[in-house]
Symmetry: C2
Subunit: 349 residues, 2 copies
């Protein structure tokens, strides 16, 4: 692989340049990653003034428009040709940069990648992967697992789901350094014929591929238990499941707050608990992990959480650089090509 | 409506006759519901001997086989013609009973209903509804909401989803006594065009029906928040979401237990918390609610939780009787017929 340069959408995220520039400055100083900073040159200059950085590793690509977090993605891309998110994606697509990072709107990132970045040969559908904390997984010190797709697609073919397994396998193996990641197919029962024809065929295709460590169908309650390193599913199902999990967490938090007000006994209990919960947070903090990868494109595309602080953005940049250096996209491409050669599937099924 | 007689699968559930007979005896004594007890006559006789009951309200239908909780549903039905679950379902189908209750295998109940009980005219697909606790819902003292389908179907048509809305509307309105239940369509975004053609069309059909109080698309995190009384979804999505919610709860419980062992501060906090959590349990205890209805058939079919104790079974019997007396199935049938007359949809779409 050639030199690694990450295109950073400086204006993306809830905090915009103030946070992304802090992250960029730190990365330039602490790592050997080159950066292409895309956004308002004044904001970038102010950011560089305020933070110690290594100017040799930094180049600036001016972009004067910003797509908001709540803006309609298609409309944003269409009406703001000079948006930082678009310019950064185009730089990754053209080879001016080798990877892309943004804390901007997920919808706009998915759409921009689809518009400008070529897909890996043979891949029909990209997948947005969520990185989520689980119960401790046997033999794996990493408390995070990967679920894909969680919203880039609605319905998928069986071959799409097989390719999602290749994507998850390559990403978890290279980035999370899980040796032979275990893969589960999300379904409504464990029997291999469950869930209709697409899921039954996907089950067979994934099982028949000896390069994959397939544990079979899993169910919704297996996701947070961490029964596998990679959960493969259609976007609609994955999106709903992921948000359901977030929602249950939110409700428990608000029930605790309500209890806190109601009852002195609870109050004492919760005050004591809070200290321990902060420790747990360190184990499962998403900012440690960087971002959610959008997989299936010929360049690493990383979406950082909108609420990201500088540490999360910096980690997303490092993950994107590592995905490029370790050739995650190439590994996915080889798995897809092998399958097509073996099966005579030219991707039209 | 004529007299109400509930067919009870005495042998179903983790505890079998010991628990179902306690429930049946109590119902015979405390209510005006007639019971058809289906199962091993010896076990039934022993149950009647041990519990005070009203013999005038009780009739027995012998059935000498039992379908186990982990048995393959189709195989169980095929190889055990004299199974209590099958005999009870056939009694409801023939009119010997007006409703069905079992704590047996969900798969076998769904399959047995499909095999013997006629669907409501015009309904193509039945829906299994889950009753689940939510955060307090505005203007609704009932802490439970209804989600359907959670596993009787995989994929649905837009019309199926509209009919699920009718089913949920009738059930929540009559059984939970929610006045004009609010209905949400589970999707991966709020925009009405989200989620592909089936969901976009379902959105339009539900919105256009003035008899329904439709709040629009909802997302996974809205489910436990209780933003609506009835969540409409395809079976695969509903099943995964429901189990994901259960899984997150389980993980939090096990994390708490782990913490309990680790840390004295947590230990004190959790001991104090436990008392409050028991109070919360009373609000959301599923045994208060009875069972999960299987909707779309011409008779009320209630599935009680396998772990049900006598109180939960008794409540399921009362709910089944109420569903019959209040003609929930008839209300669903009228809504379906109205839609077909209005739209010229003969159900073949």
């Amino acid at each position: 692989m050639t030199e690694t340069r990450v295109a950073l959408d400086v204006m993306g995220g809830d905090h915009g340049a103030s946070v992304t520039m802090e992250a960029a400055a730190a990365v330039s100083k602490d790592t050997s990653i080159d950066l292409l900073l895309v956004g308002d040159p004044d904001a970038i200059a102010r950011g560089l003034d305020s933070h110690e950085h290594d100017p040799k590793r930094i180049e600036v690509l001016p972009a004067m428009e910003v797509i908001g977090q709540t803006e309609k993605p298609r409309q944003g891309l269409d009406t703001k040709p000079d948006a930082s998110l678009s310019r950064a994606m185009q730089a990754a697509a053209s080879g001016d940069a080798s990877a892309f990072v943004s804390a901007g709107s997920t919808g706009a990132i998915v759409l921009a990648a689809a518009r400008w970045v070529p897909k890996i040969d043979g891949v029909k559908r990209a997948a947005l992967a969520a990185v989520y904390p689980t119960k401790e997984r046997r033999g794996n010190p990493d408390r995070f697992a990967l679920m894909l797709d969680v919203g880039a697609t609605v319905r998928c073919s069986a071959t799409d789901l097989l390719f999602f397994a290749y994507m998850g396998n390559a990403y978890a193996g290279r980035i999370s350094k899980v040796n032979s990641p275990s893969i589960g197919l999300l379904n409504m029962g464990r029997e291999e014929t469950k869930g209709g024809e697409v899921l039954a065929t996907a089950h067979r295709l994934i099982r028949e591929d000896e390069s994959l460590n397939f544990i079979g169908n899993i169910e919704g309650n297996d996701i947070p238990m961490g029964v596998c390193d990679v959960v493969v599913c259609e976007g609609l199902v994955g999106n709903v499941a992921l948000k359901m999990g977030e929602g249950v967490g939110e409700v428990l938090k608000s029930v605790s707050k309500w209890a806190f007000k109601q009852n002195l006994v609870w109050k004492v209990g919760l005050t004591l608990l809070a200290r321990g919960l902060r420790q747990l947070k360190d184990i499962t903090d998403y900012s440690e992990y960087g971002g959610a990868p959008l997989l299936g494109f010929s360049r690493p595309v990383l979406k950082a959480h909108g609420r990201s602080e500088a540490r999360a953005i910096a980690n997303a940049i490092k993950v994107a650089a590592k995905a490029h250096r370790d050739d995650v996209c190439g590994e996915i491409g080889r798995a897809v090509a092998d399958f097509q050669a073996r099966s005579g599937d030219d991707g039209t099924a």
